[in-house]
């Protein structure tokens, strides 16, 4: 999913930068010297002062009760939400029926031929093979359910995203208003989106589709806007001089010029929709995600994997096909499409006549058992008592007592205003006073919501996991950047780890590391590593060869080259890696609530599970604030400027 590219630039001004940084810190110190005694005199407490919190649980419980009581009678529901929900149900059902009517042969043929038209023969074969593999794993019907849900969610997201993107691409004011919102939505953990939709729509497919849309539409909108704004001005002027109307210009010049961004947006939307479709099984999405979720309930890693693999396959195929579509169309034109459509219909009809609509029951491969045996072996031999290094359980224990506990205790011991100060300093050093203000306000909001302590608990887990991720990720990234063979070996592994639904990680992690915060952190590290490795490798490889060459000619050893040339020059990429690492780690640490991670993640799970939306929504909002704060603290200003284009 991390298709962001980093371009190294602006490293030549360390002196000036340092100078400005010192200035900022001095200013901040002066502000602190004035404000802190005031704040401390008023609300002298280590933790967030009680006087500054707002208790939202009463009103929220009231709202939730009101909704349940009025859902079948109030006009707002009957004439507005009811229709939305209806439309979702009808369209998902329509797609599902079409997929079932086409039968497994028809769907496979249609998908293969579509891939052939947009991406060539190799990917077409890959697509067909992936779909057949879903059937072989015994997951045909759930795959179709997920696909039906995805098709609807992606279509709605794309329409919504393009509309928003058009508005922002054509009007500066909308762009300025929309961009921070879209940027922010992209860094929020998926879990935080579930509760509000459940509140209104109840458990089920409509809620799942809508949560997916909210999660997946922002990248489409962002990239559409950027594509429209990034169009070459000279081309536009030329078109304008031909006397075209605004609409003609949009359709004949601006949109075609933005084609790359549009397809990249589509790609990201699909990937995000797929990952959300799995998480949404918690709120009744059905399909593959539900199979994963059900398998985890009986600690059946093998069955979870059997349902998880089709998701990975779908993700890899969709990613490659939409990616290839961005490169350019195949020759053949309309006739090719017509042949493809005719062939797909022919296969579907043939299969129908042959009576083979459903996937034949005997054509399935049971992978659950061997996988479970492997997992059992691993847990039996690695859990504890391994000579010299100790077992995984011991590591988890040490990680908890030596790193997580002191970190949490430290954060919670710090007076509340000093936490805000640290946040302000970090965000200001790396960004502008505006990002600093956002970060401080977001952090303060967690206190106002009355969840200061759990937020710091979550924060401590994020920090510990990010540290581990960065150490491992940057090391692996350096290795991959230095050896082509290693990178080639690594690439499919990274692909799989990045697209695997986060749920699948949780249970083997519990088997190895027990219950608690440590396994949550481990799952987060595993999930965030691929992105960090990838960005680091990319950043290091983009370092100007001339700079390296000159360093080499000066007789620098390879370690010296790395430390004094490559790493400093790749600084923007490394910062981006930190940012992505933080965002991804937060997403999984939250899901860690399912394996004893506690804190905010547990509150969200609790809210969903008990229908106690007050607890869940407050925790969800706090997660949003935490995500916002972490993003602002790690997002360098340079990148924002570039993104604005």
């Amino acid at each position: 999913m991390a298709t962001l590219t980093a371009t190294p630039d602006r490293v030549g001004l360390p002196g000036l930068l340092r100078h400005r940084a010192v200035g900022k810190l001095v200013l901040l110190a002066v502000a602190a010297a004035v404000l802190v005694p005031l704040a401390d005199a008023h609300w002298a407490s280590g933790s967030w002062p009680q006087a500054l919190t707002v208790d939202l649980s009463k009103p929220l419980t009231g709202v939730s009760d009101w909704i349940i009581d009025n859902r079948d009678s109030h006009p707002l529901f009957l004439y507005f939400f009811g229709y939305i929900s209806n439309a979702v149900v009808l369209s998902v059902r329509a797609v599902y029926l079409v997929l079932l009517a086409a039968g497994w042969a028809g769907v496979t043929a249609a998908a293969g031929l579509l891939a052939w038209r947009v991406a060539g023969v190799r990917l077409a074969l890959g697509t067909a093979a992936a779909l057949l593999a879903c059937g072989l794993l015994g997951m045909w019907v759930p795959t179709m359910q997920t696909l039906a849900l995805m098709v609807v969610a992606v279509l709605v997201s794309v329409v919504l995203g393009v509309l928003l993107g058009l508005a922002a691409g054509l009007s500066d004011r909308t762009f300025r208003a929309l961009r921070p919102v879209l940027d922010t939505m992209q860094v929020l953990p998926a879990f935080a989106y579930l509760l509000p939709v459940v509140l209104v729509f109840g458990i089920g497919v409509p809620a799942a589709v809508l949560a997916t849309v909210v999660y997946a539409a922002p990248p489409m909108a962002r990239l559409t806007a950027l594509g429209l704004r990034g169009a070459d001005h000279e081309v536009l002027e030329a078109v304008e001089s031909l006397g075209t109307t605004a609409r003609q210009r949009l359709f004949t010049a601006r949109l075609p010029l933005a084609r790359r961004e549009l397809l990249l947006g589509l790609n990201q939307t699909i990937m995000m929709a797929l990952s959300m479709a799995v998480i949404a099984s918690v709120i009744g999405a059905g399909g593959l995600g539900d199979r994963v979720y059900q398998a985890l309930a009986s600690v059946d890693v093998g069955a979870a994997l059997a349902a998880g693999l089709p998701i990975v396959l779908l993700a890899v195929v969709l990613d490659r096909v939409t990616g290839a579509a961005g490169e350019g169309l195949r020759p053949g034109g309309r006739a090719g499409w017509a042949y493809a459509a005719a062939a797909a219909v022919a296969v579907a009809v043939a299969a129908r006549l042959a009576g083979g609509l459903d996937w034949p029951g005997s054509w399935t491969v049971q992978i659950a058992e061997p996988v479970n045996r492997a997992v059992d072996w691993m847990t039996a031999h690695l859990y504890s008592g391994v000579p010299y290094v100790g077992g995984t359980a011991d590591w988890a224990g040490h990680f908890t007592t030596w790193i997580l506990d002191p970190l949490r205790a430290g954060l919670q011991w710090l007076p509340w205003w000093s936490v805000l100060l640290v946040v302000a300093a970090l965000a200001w050093l790396i960004g502008t006073w505006r990002t600093a203000l956002t970060a401080v306000l977001a952090m303060a909001a967690t206190g106002v919501l009355g969840v200061w302590k759990p937020s710091l608990d979550t924060l401590s887990q994020v920090l510990a996991a990010v540290a581990v991720t960065l150490v491992l990720g940057v090391a692996t990234g350096i290795a991959a950047a230095r050896s082509d063979r290693f990178e080639r070996l690594l690439r499919p592994v990274l692909d799989v780890f990045q697209t695997m639904p986060q749920f699948v990680y949780l249970i083997p992690v519990v088997a190895l590391f027990g219950v608690g915060r440590a396994p949550a952190a481990v799952a987060a590290v595993v999930y965030a590593l691929p992105a960090v490795v990838r960005i680091t490798t990319q950043g290091l490889r983009q370092v100007d060869p001339a700079a390296l060459e000159s360093a080499r000619s000066l007789g620098a050893s390879s370690v010296q080259q790395l430390r004094q040339v490559q790493l400093p020059l790749a600084r923007p990429a490394l910062l981006l890696a930190v940012n992505q690492g933080v965002v991804l780690v937060l997403a999984v640490v939250i899901i860690g609530g399912l394996v004893g991670g506690g804190a905010l993640g547990y509150d969200v799970v609790f809210g969903l599970a008990q229908g106690d939306l007050a607890t869940g929504l407050v925790a969800g909002a706090a997660i949003v604030c935490l995500g916002l704060m972490l993003d602002r603290v790690t997002q360098p200003t340079e990148r924002r400027a570039q993104k604005g284009a």
């Binding site: 859902r71 079948d72 006009p75 529901f77 009957l78 004439y79 009811g82 929900s85 209806n86 439309a87 979702v88 149900v89 009808l90 998902v92 059902r93 599902y96 029926l97 079932l100 009517a101 109840g202 458990i203 089920g204 497919v205 409509p206 009744g284 059905g286 539900d290 979720y293 059900q294 985890l296 309930a297 009986s298 059946d300 069955a303 659950a368 058992e369 859990y383 504890s384 359980a393 224990g397 908890t400 007592t401 506990d405 949780l506 249970i507 519990v510 219950v515 608690g516 915060r517 440590a518 860690g592 609530g593 394996v595 004893g596 506690g598 609790f606 969903l608 599970a609 008990q610 229908g611």
Partner: protein, 318 residues
């Protein structure tokens, strides 16, 4: 611009007319995956514990193979399942552990859910310690002695206190209040899901380590890890009325079945079958053990049970 606006208005009007401008009651919408291709479909709610999966597996097998239905299953947590049931997104809950608030709201006030009789299994929640630990410390099964042994149960997560391991946040639990009201030197740690809790229990058991856990019967895990219940202050009717002041044990609950009210009226054979579905703790454990421990698929497990218990299920179909 005005032209576009009129177009939009016309489009909206057409949309309004074609969809029919009536009310759309979303509490009456079934799952989009139900009744596909003319098959009669029943959607069953599966709760996350394996006993509930056993009920559903057998009901599903019989509905599919003896009554010709297509069965969808959805995993929903306990309280949201009530909501989904009232909206008709699922047709039946086969095992409910007692939710008086929901029962009052949906069964008595809104009448969108109908009772469907007992499951035949009686459930009991409690605190359990492994039996190998009881052999070493026979007096550990009284709550008054728990503090004495708190240091045995200490883990990295519970800090200086003993760890009382709870499972999924969705399960019925008073443990936090109990620990507080009984003034125990313990910390409740939520495993977050039953899967995580079972995995952890089995790891402890393999090494014969002491642990104290929230657990419930009937449960197949007792066959793998023998556990003994810790006696809490005895349960009296109404002693758990105020969730914050609970200081007594959990009751013995006869588990109940519930159907969506519309399904109850018009569900035909399937609804009749589900109302008659009634088996014993033994039966349920047998199927659950096959699923969770021998790793049979729920369908294989159900088939095995159905093949050898014809006399039991024949009466459900009549």
């Amino acid at each position: 611009m005005p032209r576009t606006r009129t177009k939009i208005i016309t489009a909206l009007a057409v949309l309004g007319l074609t969809t029919g401008c009536g009310a759309a009651d979303m509490t009456k919408q079934a799952s989009p995956f139900a009744n596909a291709q003319g098959a009669r479909t029943v959607t069953l709610s599966v709760q996350s514990w394996v006993g509930a999966q056993a009920n559903v597996a057998v009901a599903q097998y019989l509905l599919q193979h003896k009554l010709g239905y297509r069965v969808d299953t959805v995993q929903v947590d306990e309280i949201p399942a009530w909501d989904a049931l009232s909206q008709g997104r699922v047709d039946a809950i086969l095992e409910d552990w007692g939710h008086p608030d929901q029962e009052k709201r949906y069964v008595e006030d809104k009448k969108t859910i109908a009772r469907a009789g007992g499951l035949g299994v009686t459930g009991h929640i409690g605190w359990y310690v492994p039996t190998y630990l009881v052999r070493q410390h026979p007096d550990i099964t009284d709550w008054k002695n728990l503090d004495k042994y708190a240091n045995l149960f200490r883990t990295a997560e519970s800090g200086g206190k003993g760890q009382l391991m709870d499972g999924s946040p969705s399960y019925v639990t008073n443990d936090k209040a109990l620990v507080e009201n009984l003034k125990l030197d313990y910390q409740v740690i939520f495993a977050g899901s039953e899967a995580a809790q079972i995995t952890q229990i089995r790891q402890f058991a393999k090494e014969h380590k002491p642990f104290l856990t929230y657990w419930y019967a009937p449960q197949w895990l007792f066959k793998k890890v023998p556990m003994t219940e810790v006696r809490l202050p005895p349960y009296k009717e109404g002693c758990d009325a105020d969730p914050a002041k609970v200081a007594c044990a959990y009751p013995h609950t006869p588990l109940q079945k519930y159907l969506n009210a519309d399904f109850d009226r018009s569900g035909g054979k399937a609804a009749r079958f589900l109302k008659k579905f009634h088996w014993t703790t033994e039966d349920q454990n047998q199927v659950a053990l096959m699923i969770a421990d021998q790793k049979l698929t729920p369908e294989q497990a159900a088939k095995k049970w159905v093949d050898s218990h014809a006399s039991t299920w024949k009466s459900w179909l009549s």
